[in-house]
Subunit: 418 residues, 2 copies
């Protein structure tokens, strides 16, 4: 069986001047990969006819599927639709269903008058299959040429996602006979990429060629993913289970989960399975820990709230931190984070709490407590554990690192003190 | 004067399976653009010799500068360095300075034993200029061939950023005579892209060819950017000032700032200039508003803290919301957000507060209050304004939209009630 190969073309000057980060390509790659399609290249080009055509020509040389996003908006800089129409030798015609959907959106949902510019979005090339976009104005378009499939999707992420799931993936599965690609993923916290690589070297070298290991480090975490590719599903699954079992043994001491989950997801599941609740008391992370937890649907079952005591006054008034501790040890100290955690447990009435205080930079450091110094306390009413971390580099990264390490300290506490 | 054109090549299988979002390309594009370099294409390829070489050949056809990131790690899947070495006809040699830096990092900073695999990172092609990486282990590499510059940087974002700023940009400015590219950017909140396009259509059509307008919509905001390109700096600046003045007039009612800033930055500056403080009381946004404010360095001057009352019990105990209001109107109601804002002003002792409560989905909706229903209250001790929003679609987007609209309601309140 031949590999089904895809290229992704993202269109838009905003990508080339760097004013937006392309999150669409990652989503599309993930979905294609899961479906058994091998993404070979991703290309971003500007809103230029010449560049779009060059990319279409080059990417369709090796790839069976060319997924295109962006440039379908109602404004003058959006030229993807007329360029595709010309490329596939069609002409633009009004599509009645898209027109009705546009009128519905403006009248019932946006409650704004519809203007000529918007109605133009209902014009589509007569050589494509129209993919209805329930979430927005620009429809998707499916073209076929010389056995290759070209799909054009809007660049707005939630519209693109809706179209991928509802229209593109089912149609691709009908059009191509997919091979079987599958993954096993685990997450470690607390050890660097090269040290892990050294630990698992002997095992990795013996992996058969159709199994591939990827290291995905991110903010103090390393995700390890084995990808397998085969036509024999049962054999591949068995083989992956065996190798994944060996890998888990090798990295056991840093293992957080053997599923493709984030650390906040692991912590949420752990609390849910034990019917327990948690709270956060945040100084330097300024709400980011709370955000990581509440971004997960159903958080209200396990999460009651947070006191973000950015100002010391709030540490005293809302978390019962003693002015004497603040005076003596300073806001970034073991004493203060312990009092913050105890205050959160009492005030927010939860089973567990985690508290952080630190210096995120670029200002505020001192010789004894340089930028990146963080104290964390986690625990329950009977016991609190603490840890001092020393991070480096920039503010955004320090906030991320602190939130992840603090949530991991609470996770470990719960697992070890069950 | 000729345009200086660049391509960005990002290397790594993790980009093609979609496990990481490429934020590096946006940063590099921004920096090159500011320096007067036109980014023409961005390409992502896997850790494959054939694909890397194809990308190097194709991208160096039109571009003067080829910026390469990724694939420089210590693990077996990282092959960028040997491939570049071969491509430019060199051989790998140990670099004494890089070796010393590696030993310093492991001994003094990471405090972990250095292993052979790490020391290999000090081997560099003898045909490149080594760019020292103060923030990490893999050095940058600068190659020149047929008048083109190829720069290879590590994929770790803060290492890449450090190298771009300290090494790459100054060297590019020495190597090429840059044209002058400049921008004017403004931010609007509260009106859609196509409606704005209609309003400014006549003005936009009359723009000279060397000035280009971009629409950059994002979560209820639309950023408008005019980019100008010329060799005559003074004339271009004057021209841009004139056109930018006209544009600002046209979109005045939705204008948040005429600088290249985010909404949280605008709100922070506003508070700082008036020496005032704010607090947040968050239910559905779960700390995300607080995070947006505290992600900005120096937030402690204007931000005291937040009560994240995810659970109704906390709304009562920590924010003085009356059980009767919760009972009668429900947690997502005008009454409750007003009481939350009043509670935050009192408990956190600030000049201003903003409170939100809503249903972010996918669960929790009802016919009267569907998913996406949000109440916001903002104001000070003498007056509170409220607004009901109705968002749609997914949870992550609803959290973003709510935080932005709520912060904007507070910003407008401050401006209008000075």
């Amino acid at each position: 069986m031949e590999k089904i190969i895809a290229s992704i073309i993202t269109i838009g000057d905003e990508l080339l001047i760097g004013q937006v980060v392309d999150t669409n390509s990652a989503f599309i790659s993930q979905e294609l990969n899961k479906a058994g399609v091998w993404v070979k290249r991703r290309v971003a080009v500007g809103d230029s006819k010449e560049e779009i055509i060059r990319a279409l020509n080059e990417e369709s040389r090796d790839s069976n599927i060319i997924l295109i996003t962006g440039g379908l908006g109602p404004t003058a800089d959006d030229i993807t639709k007329p360029v595709l129409c010309e490329y596939f030798g069609g002409k633009l015609v009004m599509n009645e269903e898209v027109r009705k959907h546009l009128i519905y959106l403006f009248e019932q949902v946006y409650r704004r008058p519809i203007i000529e510019r918007n109605l133009k979005q209902a014009e589509v090339p007569d050589v494509c299959t129209v993919l209805p976009n329930a979430r927005g104005t620009a429809p998707g378009m499916w073209f076929e040429k010389n056995g290759k499939v070209f799909v054009s999707l809007p660049g707005v992420p939630h519209e693109m996602k809706g179209l991928m799931t509802a229209e593109v993936l089912p149609r691709l599965q009908q059009t191509f006979t997919m091979p079987f690609i599958t993954h096993r993923t685990l997450l470690t916290v607390g050890m660097g990429e090269s040290f892990i690589a050294e630990r698992i070297k002997d095992w990795e070298e013996k992996l058969p060629a159709h199994l591939k290991l990827a290291y995905l480090p991110n903010y103090g975490m390393v995700r390890l993913r084995i990808t397998g590719w085969s036509t024999d599903k049962t054999r591949l699954e068995n083989e992956l289970d065996t190798e994944f079992g060996k890998l888990k043994q090798l990295v056991q001491e840093w293992l957080v989960t053997d599923e493709d989950e984030t650390l906040p997801m692991v912590l949420s599941k752990l609390l849910r399975s034990r019917k327990k609740t948690m709270a956060t008391a945040e100084s330097c992370t300024g709400g980011y820990m709370a955000h990581l937890i509440t971004a997960i649907s159903g958080a209200s079952n396990i999460y009651k709230g947070s006191i973000i005591s950015y100002d010391n006054e709030i540490k005293i008034s809302a978390l019962n931190v003693s002015p004497a501790s603040l005076q003596k040890a300073g806001a970034v100290s073991e004493e203060v984070v312990k009092e913050m955690a105890a205050g959160a447990l009492a005030k927010l009435n939860t089973d567990y709490a985690v508290a952080v205080s630190g210096i995120m930079g670029p200002d505020g450091g001192s010789p004894e407590k340089p930028v990146g110094t963080v104290w964390v306390a986690a625990g329950d009413r009977t016991k609190l554990v603490t840890h001092r971390f020393q991070f480096r580099f920039d503010r955004a990264r320090n906030i991320e690192m602190t939130a992840i390490q603090a949530l991991n300290l609470l996770r470990k506490f719960i697992v070890e003190n069950a």
